[in-house]
Symmetry: C2
Subunit: 648 residues, 2 copies
């Protein structure tokens, strides 16, 4: 199995997943198909057009003599007439419905191997929500026992079957955590999060979110996460944001049986739609039929067409999510979607409590601007990260002030200040405080917000107060200037102070947390067209950094990378590769995950990092795709997109 991150945003990721030489892109959805084509509302040929992966039930095949014979003879792919990836469930569902089933845990593993399934599932115990804790614990122990048995069986017999290791624990977050920790120790390929369907059905989205996070935090990052049983598109984007990669949908078909019409934000009843002139959808079904025409078709035909529509919107939503990840606007996408139902909004709001963790996975820079979509946006990782990174700046004298919300950003292009080395911190309703000297960096200028309500403007007051307290301890009360002392101090200030160089120095402090330009004389070049800072040269006129226009990140040259390496202590901002990779990386080749020995565990995605060997000798510099934690976990895919090697 290969699993590689291609694009990412939040904890969401677009990945390449390769199983048995079949490549697919995640996040995606596996339609649930019935092994008996007669029980399948939508023909497999239709499903093939949309899906690269399907899921079916191995227990149903096992129990049915006819299906079993075909599967054992020709394999599950021929049985389903589907040659891409086939995943099977194991009978857990039947177990949850009927209380007992007719197969031993290892027997069904063996059967899944025998019929050539790509990814099978252990016979876990799906504990429903709200049961006694003792029951949940007992179930979990049994699931873990079976998990170990299954892995052992696979190893002993040399099965090629990949395995789902399902996370259980009912609504007990500590049990979900325990489940994740224990299952992680076993070599499963995909980790489904199980038994959330009853919660989904009763709109207990907040609890689903907490279950996902409390599982995900303890699961390996280099394995796909499958949110088992979640087939309603209204929840996809939130689940993807939290790192879910796979979904399955029986919903498309079950809802259709029930006359229900899925949308990306909810469910409508065909019956209630029949007075509409047109369907609110552009899929082939909805373009061909008027609502009353579809309603009046015979039952089987109507069910099939509804199921087709349901599949179209399901995949459309997945495609919209992937597009948002690629744009770096997944948070904005989710903040739109969660308005579909107050329970979704509530679920989203709970992320605030987990933002310290989530922030580690969120890219430090994005293609698209930060959009404020409501007070919820105040708690996003971009805001949290800024508030933490504010402490990276080396403050000397500080002056804290207000600027009218009418002033456009970056402030530095719209207001003039006298020359000064004072760190001017501008109060800001979203980001708390914006230092004047770094105000061009993403997202401090790359954000959009509406005019705020008055009470919204004060939400950051406490943060500002706490920050001032921190400053007081750091630099002393006397260095926090009031307007009078600020004016007095700046009036004495030297006219030949190079405020461009000072700005770059501050920006580097913010970007790296170290004073890279301490004792270094630089010359800063502005663009002739835009007047904006573009290049940082050393005394000899050699390039150290260029300033990337869309986010104002400082991008090191080879010389700049050397300077970073000198000024930043090991292991900060380092990715350490092994001997094998060294000669290639030095020549500027990209760093792949499998060659990584170590990395700064605090690295966020898309930072500008340096690549070193185990003796901390500089090899190359580039942009990391994986964060510090993932660097250690992933064995596939790109880890650092190298800009240049030291031998280049």
């Amino acid at each position: 199995m290969r699993f590689e991150i291609k694009y990412r945003d939040g904890m969401g990721r677009v990945c390449l997943l390769e199983i048995n030489n079949k490549k697919i892109e995640t996040p995606t959805i596996m339609p649930v198909v019935h092994p008996n084509p007669k029980k399948q509302s939508v023909p497999i040929d239709f499903i093939k057009k949309l899906a690269d992966i399907v899921i079916t039930n191995s227990y149903i095949i096992y129990k049915n003599k006819f299906l079993r014979e075909i599967a054992e003879k020709l394999g599950v792919h021929k049985l389903l007439n589907f040659d891409k990836i086939v995943v099977t469930d194991s009978g857990s569902y039947q177990l949850s419905v009927y209380g007992k089933i007719d197969v031993e845990p290892n027997e069904i593993i063996e059967f899944q191997e025998r019929i050539g399934v790509d990814v099978g599932t252990i016979l876990d115990i799906p504990t429903p929500p709200d049961v006694d804790k003792e029951k949940a614990e007992r179930d979990l122990e049994e699931t873990l026992r079976r998990a170990k048995e299954a892995i052992k069986l696979r190893e002993e017999r040399g099965y090629r079957l990949l395995l789902n290791g399902t996370i259980q624990g009912s609504t007990y977050l500590d049990l979900r955590k325990k489940s994740a920790i224990e299952m992680s120790k076993l070599n499963f390929d995909i980790y489904p999060i199980g038994a959330v369907v009853p919660l989904m059905e009763s709109y207990r989205f907040r609890e689903v979110v907490e279950i996902i996070i409390n599982s995900k935090m303890y699961l390996p990052n280099n394995k796909p996460i499958h949110l088992f049983g979640c087939g309603h598109p209204m929840f996809f984007s939130l689940a993807v944001l939290l790192g879910c990669d796979l979904f399955d949908s029986a919903a498309y078909s079950l809802y259709a049986k029930d006359g229900r019409y899925l949308t990306e934000t909810g469910t409508l009843h065909l019956e209630e739609m029949k007075d509409l002139k047109e369907f609110p959808c552009s899929c082939p079904v909805c373009l061909e039929y008027k609502p009353n025409e579809l309603y009046n078709l015979d039952e089987k035909e109507r069910e099939r067409l509804l199921a087709e529509h349901n599949l179209y919107v399901t995949f459309e939503e997945i495609n919209k999510i992937k597009e948002a990840i690629k744009e770096g606007s997944l948070w904005e996408f989710v903040e739109k979607r969660v308005r579909a139902h107050p329970k979704l909004l509530e679920a989203y709001r709970i992320l605030k409590n987990y933002m310290e963790y989530i922030e580690k996975f969120d890219p430090v820079t994005k293609k698209s601007a930060f959009f404020y979509t409501g007070i919820e946006s105040l708690y996003r990782p971009e805001v949290l990260r800024h508030k933490k990174r504010l402490k990276r700046i080396k403050y000397n004298k500080v002056y804290i002030t207000n600027i009218s919300s009418k002033v456009e950003r970056p402030y530095s292009e719209h207001i003039n200040i006298v020359k000064t080395d004072v760190d001017i911190l501008i109060k800001h309703p979203i980001f708390g405080l914006i230092p004047y000297y770094i105000d061009t960096i993403y997202p401090l200028s790359q954000h959009e917000a509406p005019e705020l309500y008055d009470f919204e403007k004060n939400i950051n007051d406490r943060f500002i107060e706490e920050f001032i307290n921190w400053l007081r301890k750091k630099i002393g009360e006397e260095n926090i200037l009031d307007i009078r002392s600020y004016n007095y101090y700046t009036s004495l200030f030297s006219e030949d102070f190079d405020s461009n160089a000072y700005r770059i120095r501050k920006m580097l402090q913010y970007q790296y947390g170290y004073d890279i330009l301490e004792g270094v004389n630089v010359r800063v070049i502005r663009s002739k067209n835009t007047g904006r800072l573009r290049k940082v040269l050393n005394e000899n006129g050699d390039l150290l950094f260029s300033i990337r226009s869309h986010d104002n990140f400082l991008i090191p040259s080879k010389l700049g990378a050397k300077l970073l390496w000198e000024k930043i202590p090991f292991p900060k901002y380092r990715v350490v590769v092994n001997k094998e990779a060294e000669p290639f990386v030095k020549k500027g080749r990209n760093v792949f995950a499998k060659f990584i020995v170590d990395a700064d565990e605090e690295l966020r995605p898309y930072e500008e990092v340096i690549v070193v060997n185990e003796n901390d000798e500089l090899l190359a510099y580039g942009t990391n795709i994986l964060n510090g934690v993932e660097m250690r976990e992933f064995n596939n895919g790109l880890a650092v997109k190298v800009r240049g090697g030291i031998y280049e």
Copy 2:
């Protein structure tokens, strides 16, 4: 022309519009088609599949000898090969671009009549945003002069041409108002709001919203409003919410020429999409092509397909909006859509300032629950109306208290109180105060909200304070009980007090603003299944009111209607019909707008009203579709859906 409201929500409405025997449903969009098919990116046959109405430019036809000959000989419908409704612009656009044009105002009116246009447009002056006020005023005077001339010409010559009377006034709201007032005096058929395109293009949505409202407030409600030049679906729902009925789109084609791909929430560039595995859309174009395939097609083909996709999403959005209106969830729909861009959110937030006006058009009851999607929801008409209608209740003794947010609604089903005639007002973060005795009425129990942030919970503090001040004046400080006096008072209270009857009395006060059950003895029947109040009988056991389950509105029987008629003074809650309608209405036939003589101007849509003749004799009772103001303006369509006539 016929124009009738079928469904409504906010100021939005789904209407039947009939022009020259061609019936269409609004809101809808008219694709802009070029009179020369060679200049048309999408063939007319494709447009026919989606559109019932198109717009083209009469000036282009007028200026082109070839097109003009065909149009004059065969008519504009044959020229376009489109037999449904054809609207034409007049050259105003060319005037705005080139500063002058080659046709006299009345000449182009005459030409539009001659070529058989369904709806023509006067040659108004489209004043751009931000011009000098003097210029805007001069332009407006000239537009008004031409408007009068055009109407005069049409009358004198007996033209059958319907006419667009465009509202101008640049970004000056007082001029927009003046324009609306003056144009309303003339007998135009459709009122376009003009010259908003430059504002739309620079995302100045807030100003567009203010222009729409400040025009709409002074325009007749019984004429369609066309938001001229607005073709981006991201703005449709907000415009519809404010009462716009028609849109036109050149955008589908112009954006396609530019390689831009419309979505319901913004615009993407095909170039940036070419790495996507699939398009985020289920239209036939997006299902047939992968992004990179479409990108690599030859220019003309790509442009046509992009334009087709753009049209599909444009119409899909209209269909979604109509569905939301029918469900009574248009506010929720808009509150989702405005999260697409902070400037849209800002535009939406400004509605708060106009909510007193907007509330008059918003139905008092809706099929679907009130969803809280963020703090913006606090200012919705349902909330404003509740806060005003709270003053309808006749308070005696009042006790104001808190209830944990964990208690489910209706409170009366989840908490027990001792028998009392004290009006218990429960503090509520969204609705301010919820009287215990009316807590089952829409939307007091029919709403959903997430767990609120702490600061959100206090936003209604000022309202509560003001309300207590009002109460103090109304009933005296001594009747506002504290916990001690409340307990003392209720401990003395009679055990045989009929709190069900008291509840109904309070509900009727809230629903009508009068004490309908004063001096009336009633018996209240609960449902055996649900335990909920279901029927109100008089002393003889005859039905007065039934309680509608989804919103707990009191629905009068014939006897109930008589009671309302006795207890509510004229003209409150009345619709007055003329002699001609009287015999039919008495027999229970619906009331159509054209028979209406007068109506309570404070009526909101979907109230339970009584129908009387000019002598205030009771004829019937039913649900009003039009509000009090519209009753006087509309000449078409249903005004009151009658439940029963007095002779029935």
